[in-house]
Amino acid sequence: MSTAAAGHHEHDDHGPAKGWTRWLYTTNHKDIGTLYLLFALVMFFIGGGMALIIRAELFQPGLQLVDPLFFNSMTTMHALVMIFGVVMPAFVGLANWMIPMMIGGPDMALPRMNNWSFWIMPFAFLLLLSTLFMEGGGPAGGWTLYAPLSLQGPDSFAFVIFSIHFMGISSVMGSINIVATIFNMRAPGMSLMQMPLFVWTWLITAYLLIAVIPVLAGAVTMLLTDRFFGTSFFNAAGGGDPVMYQHIFWFFGHPEVYILILPAFGIISSIIPTFARKPLFGYASMVYATASIAFLSFIVWAHHMFTVGMPLAGEMFFMFATMMISVPTGVKVFNWVATMWRGSMTFETPMLFAIGFLVMFTIGGLSGLMLAITPADIQYHDTYFVVAHFHYVLVPGAIYSIMAATYYWLPKWTGNMYDEKWGKIHFWVSTVFLNVLFFPMHFVGLAGMPRRIPDYNLQFADWNAIATIGAFGFGFSQLIFVYVIFKCIKGGAKATDEVWDGAEGLEWTVPSPAPYHTFEKPPAQYS
């Protein structure tokens, strides 16, 4: 293994290694960031394909295309792929690319472990996706793997459990690396409260990951032993409790929800000030709000389980704790709007996605507030209203923030401007179809259509047909995204170093494209 000390007297200005093994052995945060982002893009289409199978089946009432077991394994896999294979790796990819540049560091703190964090992912997903081709099919009990249903699944169950352990190893190593990078690699003199918000939100996200991924590992380990080693953690006959699985799972699962959105908050907090040409309104309150959300995320998990039969005191506690989250979230939405207030706004593609995020994430947030109310949730639970809610926070929330970030930083990554016209078309087409897809789910959900069922009553037919049209429209319009990205990689108008005229931060002080090694010597701004 060759090593060298960057910035030593013997010079170290070489670029990437030659040949395809560059990508296998790389320790460069930009290479690894690129790998993560491309992996997420590929998985986005795999997970999206599964969503289209689901929507195609639901186009009309009755069973038409796939058998119910396969339908169930599509809903299960779609969630696992989108959460663990798309949103998380995409955020880690962005963290890899941007955090070292934003804090004026030379690379991630532990570059070799960084390589391993990425190279686990393709293997973990190979393990997970291979279950679809096994006898009995893939997991079909929902991504939450609730016992006892998941324990009754096909033989591929052990592969699913181990693929989750596998991804968990990657997540924990990646998060530890990010924490060490942020604390240890900042430019001399840069205080924590001078860090860009993307760095702050990722720092807090990394803590959430380190805290809860091992809990998920523990939960699925208990599933594994219940199934294969005769334990009875989730079996009432042996003194266990299936509800206990739900508690342990959601102790992981709710912080996980914020893992999927906090980095998005950081991205939006970078983009809106740039295109409003004003500093972010209320920087400190943004930091404290993020930390509050992270803290609250640990004490709200049972709001996923209001109908499971908890003691009344539990229902009340989790209802009020959940509603409290809307306070720091409201602070954030207010701050973003206040940043735009009387700003000199322009509406390039990243800003369009950021504003789309702001409006539609808020819709998802408000339906979340409705779901937080225990008596109301008993009506909404496990209906399409819940599906509408979390897709509004995840698609125009998390996914839009990733797209906004891609358009925003693509010129810095490639040195070329992306095609603004096609970027804008991508935004508008996506946004129209997205609402055609998800908004009707509110209606059918409130009317009582259950989620995760391949068939439904006739009165839901019209809105389901419309949602399916939206799904195919949204899915295929993502091809525009791919087109714009690859066109930008191949060429285009040269980007300036600053790229956007309102942009602030260290990443805009280095050339476009960013050189293979940035900040081999610490920048002097902060010392």
């Binding site: 000390a5 592969f159 181990f162 240890n184 001399p188 003199g189």
Partner: protein, 287 residues
């Protein structure tokens, strides 16, 4: 925070991809073993994983001994180890949580204590079940068994581990004084105690299976007992191996009074398994 004038960046990493292949083989092999397949693929994965770790750590040790690491790298290593141990704490937290939940909620509910449907659940499904800890559930899964008493083996094991914490600290003071020989001696004692603990744990398991009829399938008691003590025992094994390697490095004249991160990381880890054991001793054996 350190303020470096130069940074240390390794440029190529061949071992991570080997590690991924190893883990893939291990997991896929283990999963097929559970479904009635052979053990060869799993064993191959495990062997490759061990080989990968030997080589990767070997490279890192060589670089460290060559003086390639700056103070900043040392800080990165320390932070990573700390947060890794924190993640392990959360992993054990899941199993302790299961134990507490089963004892505080599930058991009483099954016996009809508690608001809402508990009384009806008991009357309809598990009538006649009274909650006492330990228990193996209303259907008494695994059959009649005896509880693992906290005396004598667990007490002995507690003393072993606590003593090993002391010997480990003596070794630490020795290396801080630059006395490598003394460090090696006391590390040897620590490792011996560690492996002795694992051996005694094995004896305890033999007792449980052979004489007490206490098995993994002995309801919730057997489940929590073997899950907690099993994962703890595995961690003691790992910790003892790590300390053993540190000891061998000491015999090869590695470490100095100011540069011995590997020792400290191993010691932190050792104290972590120590503390987990105290939790186990109290909540699994005594209470």
């Amino acid at each position: 925070m350190s303020s470096p004038s130069s940074y240390y960046i390794p440029h190529e990493a061949k071992w991570p991809i080997v590690g991924s292949i190893a883990l893939f083989a291990f997991f896929a092999g283990f999963a097929s073993l559970l479904n009635g397949g052979g053990w060869v693929i799993m064993a191959f994965g495990a062997a490759l994983l061990v080989y990968m770790m030997i080589r990767w750590f070997g490279d890192v040790i060589a670089e460290s001994e060559n003086g390639q690491y700056s103070a900043q790298v040392d800080v990165s290593f320390r932070m990573s180890m700390m947060w890794f141990i924190f993640s392990e704490v959360m992993f054990f937290g899941a199993f302790f949580g299961a134990l507490f939940y089963a004892r505080t909620f599930s058991g009483p509910w099954l016996s009809g204590i508690g608001e809402g449907g508990a009384a009806a659940t008991n009357a309809v499904l598990w009538s006649g079940f009274d909650y006492v800890w330990p228990h193996n559930g209303p259907e008494q899964l695994g059959g009649a068994y005896e509880k693992m008493h906290w005396f004598p083996l667990p007490v002995l094991n507690t003393l072993i581990l606590l003593t090993s914490g002391v010997t480990c600290t003596i070794a630490h003071h020795a290396i801080k004084e630059g006395n490598r020989e003394k460090m090696v001696k006391w590390l040897l004692a620590t490792c011996a105690l560690g492996f002795f603990f694992v051996f005694m744990q094995g004896v305890e398991y033999y007792e449980a299976y052979a004489h007490l009829n206490l098995k993994m399938n002995t309801g919730i008691y057997g489940s929590t007992f073997f899950m907690l003590t099993g994962f703890h025992g595995f961690h003691v094994c790992m910790g003892a191996i790590i300390l053993l390697i540190v000891m061998f490095r000491g015999m090869r004249k590695h470490f100095s009074a100011t540069n011995h991160f590997a020792f400290e990381a191993a010691a932190w880890y050792w104290h972590f398994v120590d503390v987990v054991w105290l939790g186990l001793f109290i909540f699994v054996y005594i209470l």
